[in-house]
Symmetry: C2
């Protein structure tokens, strides 16, 4: 499940630049990555990049915006496919989707997760809203399960943060070269998370 953005030409220069920026931002951080770093990684001069982008800040915004919009629409699609299932099945499905997305698009997920502090003004507000929209998908599901008597948590907010942080951190430790595939990690994690909130555990 490689995420393909609508309208992307995977071989275009724009896409190469964006993917290179994602790699460098994830590895060294946005502030420590210079336009010249990105340019030399794609065998161009720094001035040439400005033909494809407005400035460095907009490049970061493009990356974060795209990933979050993709993540949200994918989560909504996943839940709508499961709309007749139990809350527990929906939670497992959502966890698997989240882990797969964070595993397959690991570098972009890392940028989204670590570079929020690099945003200012309206950019920050815009990304905050997208994050809140995604969080809402999870909290709605937890509340749905609770009102159906399927889930129980001593403290809703603590459980919510526990689940969200557990699954987001996958992007920080998962290694593609490791023992487990993304799908295997997703399956194992779905059980862990379900156990955390399920009533009859």
């Amino acid at each position: 499940m490689k995420i393909i953005y609508v309208g992307d030409d995977m071989n275009s220069v724009e896409t190469t630049i964006i993917n290179t920026a994602i790699t460098l931002f994830a590895k060294k951080g946005y502030a420590a990555t210079s336009i010249r770093d990105i340019a030399s990684s794609v065998d161009m001069k720094s001035a040439s990049l400005y033909y494809y982008m407005k400035n460095k800040k907009d490049l970061l915004m493009l990356i974060m915006d795209r990933y979050l919009i993709q993540l949200i629409s994918g989560a909504e699609a996943e839940l709508s496919e499961l709309n007749t299932a139990s809350a527990d099945e929906k939670l497992k499905g959502l966890i698997k989707y989240h882990v797969r997305s964070h595993g397959n698009e690991q570098l972009a997920a890392l940028v989204v997760d670590t570079e929020y502090r690099s945003l200012e003004g309206n950019d920050r507000i815009q990304i905050k809203q997208l994050r809140k929209k995604y969080e809402k998908i999870w909290t709605n599901l937890l509340e749905e399960g609770e009102s159906e008597g399927v889930f129980h948590f001593e403290d809703k907010h603590v459980s919510y943060f526990a689940i969200i942080s557990l699954y987001t951190c996958v992007a920080h430790w998962y290694r593609n070269s490791g023992r487990l595939s993304v799908d295997e990690v997703a399956d194992k994690y779905a059980i862990l998370g379900s156990n955390m909130v399920l009533c009859n555990k």
Copy 2:
């Protein structure tokens, strides 16, 4: 439980500079924080800071090194106090200690957690070794509990990363001004984590 480093004079200029650096590194990131930023926050000129430190890189190292050494020795002390307790009690104690440390020294914990990528060469190796030493405390305890038949996990590494990431992320979301005290969060989290690996759940 405010962590006091041995030999610190809490009112010294050095300490003020270090605490200011921790705050700025946590908020904006190491690369995005200039020496002039730190200096103006402590009402000095940038040149004056060099009377107290060798360079910017060493300031970051000092912060990360101190926090990790403190974290490790505190965890060891916690476990040695509990050396006659069950593995489950030890795990709960370790979780509580970790959450309290990450809650009380939140900014330093964030710097340690997010600025590893800003280190190079021997600095990186040195911090990596400290992190591994701390991780070893946790994995030893999980293995001890498993061999005693108290803990069970389908996949040791996945469970280990789940627990570690769950508890480290506390530093990312905890707000001192919020509804819960650090101790309350620590207690609630200890139950969650224990449930994840306990046999008779």
